[in-house]
């Protein structure tokens, strides 16, 4: 019985700091040129629904490509309807401990929220308010968080993410203790072929610039883990490529799903595989007929094991005809 009350007390304490938080509006571009300043704003409403007697310090964190060096170039400010004006936020440093893990904020965000479908180097960078607020019980207010950053030099496609919380609750198990916004984002105008951070790199197409009129190599790296799990075909003796092509304005489809010499991938290193193909010949699509899309997945010899995207979809790469 004592244990029951203790759990009840812990739960009640956990709820003390919690408030009702919601986004009222988000103003964030979906694309921006490379090497360009971007302003993102987040209008939020916060209601402190329990009596608190401790100060509350806002935290804003951004998940972005490591190459953008957010810690160096991002500027985060916020205003609130309590009339305290525009407040600055500083970069979280090693001594700023996230309360749930006792470690750095960046590590806590990575381990508890994840990297939001990015498979290239990204990082969480946290900013902490330089002002404590004496928000009291049942206080309600609105605010606007402004994040200004500069994009990097490369064309890329990524999933940005924004965390808005406070130093007391940290990266709580319960998502109602913070706000999280995911923002698909693409940079354009650079000289490189677009790097898609959102595609698992267990598969890739070579050359990087290609259309389905090119000779291409489809590559599969079974050493790449997804969500901490080994690829199901790691250690396989033979791997086969199953593929489909849509063509003629996506009105027709060709499927190659046989297990045989045609689809047998060649070893390209330990647990690495590749198959060169000329799509028109591979799918039997006549020359002069545009192949619109190709998707594929890998199987073992008896097709009992399939390797697809984490969401179960087949791998698919857009043409990159630079």
């Amino acid at each position: 019985m004592k244990r029951y009350y203790r759990y009840l007390t812990i739960a009640a304490l956990a709820a003390i700091v919690a408030g009702c938080m919601e986004f009222l509006a988000i103003n964030h571009p979906a694309t921006a040129p490379v090497n360009t300043g971007v302003d993102a704003t987040f209008d939020v409403r916060i209601e402190v629904n329990k009596d608190i007697d401790i100060r509350t310090t806002p935290v804003v964190a951004i998940l972005a490509p490591t190459a953008w060096k957010m810690a160096e170039n991002a500027v985060v400010t916020y205003t609130t309807s309590d009339g305290s004006g525009t407040k600055e936020m500083r970069l979280a440093v090693g001594t700023d401990k996230e309360p749930k893990t006792g470690g750095p904020w960046s590590a806590a965000l990575k381990s508890r929220i994840g990297l939001k479908g990015n498979y290239e180097p990204v990082e969480w960078v946290a900013f902490i308010a330089t002002t404590d607020h004496n928000w009291g019980p049942n206080d309600q207010f609105t605010g606007t968080v402004t994040v200004r950053f500069t994009t990097g030099s490369e064309n890329l496609k990524t999933n940005l993410a924004y965390f808005i919380g406070n130093t007391q609750d940290g990266v709580h198990d319960d998502a109602q203790y913070y706000l999280l916004h995911e923002q698909p984002f693409e940079t354009t105008g650079g000289s490189n072929a677009t790097i898609d951070y959102t595609l698992p790199k267990m598969c890739s197409i070579s050359p990087e610039a290609f259309t389905w009129e090119d000779i291409v190599a489809i590559k599969y790296d079974a050493t790449i883990q997804v969500d901490g799990e080994d690829s199901p075909l790691k250690g396989a003796d033979k791997v086969y490529l199953m593929a489909r092509a849509s063509y003629n304005g996506e009105t027709q489809e060709a499927v190659v799903d046989e297990v045989g010499a045609k689809t047998l991938m060649a070893k390209n290193g330990k647990d690495k595989w590749m198959l060169y193909l000329y799509p028109h010949e591979f799918f039997g699509v006549p020359a002069g007929v545009k192949i619109d899309n190709v998707s594929f997945y890998m199987v073992n010899a008896d097709k009992s094991i399939e390797v697809k995207m984490p969401d179960g979809e087949e791998f698919s790469f857009p043409e990159n005809d630079k």
């Binding site: 050359p207 290609f210 000779i215 000329y278 028109h280 020359a287 005809d321 630079k322």
Partner: protein, 154 residues
């Protein structure tokens, strides 16, 4: 004493000139081969940028270039690419008259009737067909070398 020296220099000059003439006349150069000959070229490499992709496909095995000579002059040309799933020339060349232009290297092999450049040839008997397929930045090239014995035309 001076006379032998002058003689030696003259002899060396003549020898050098002789070598040059021989190279230009193409004694060992298939594009300018002497006599009546037929040379068959097969694909050695298919370059995609810096990568040779020929080992991954069998359909390049049937690509073949035939150059024939009559009286030491370019005569007939046939380029067979039927087994390949794409064409690297604007049209088919079957038993057409050809000629070689040596103003710049690599030399240009052209269709005599139209003047169209069909392919290129270097001094080491490498015949090349540059071509494009999909993305503009990808450079492709057939590289062909002569195979078998050079046959004397009947």
């Amino acid at each position: 004493m001076k006379t032998p020296l002058v003689f030696l220099i003259t002899a060396l000059s003549l020898l050098t000139a002789s070598c040059t003439n021989e190279l230009e006349s193409g004694k060992d150069y298939p594009a300018l081969a002497m006599g009546d000959k037929t040379l068959v070229f097969k694909i050695d490499k298919v370059m995609q940028n810096e990568t040779d992709v020929k080992p991954y496909f069998s359909f390049f095995d049937g690509v073949e270039l035939t150059l024939s000579y009559k009286n030491g002059e370019p005569s007939r040309l046939t380029f067979t690419q039927a087994e390949a799933p794409f064409r690297v020339t604007g049209k088919e060349y079957v038993d057409v008259e050809w000629e070689i232009h040596t103003a710049k290297s690599p030399y240009e092999i052209r269709e005599k009737e139209t003047g169209e450049v069909i392919c290129y040839m270097t001094r080491d008997r490498l015949v090349t067909f540059p071509f494009k397929l999909g993305a503009p930045s990808n450079q492709y090239e057939y590289q062909l070398l002569p195979v078998g014995d050079e046959s004397e035309n009947q």
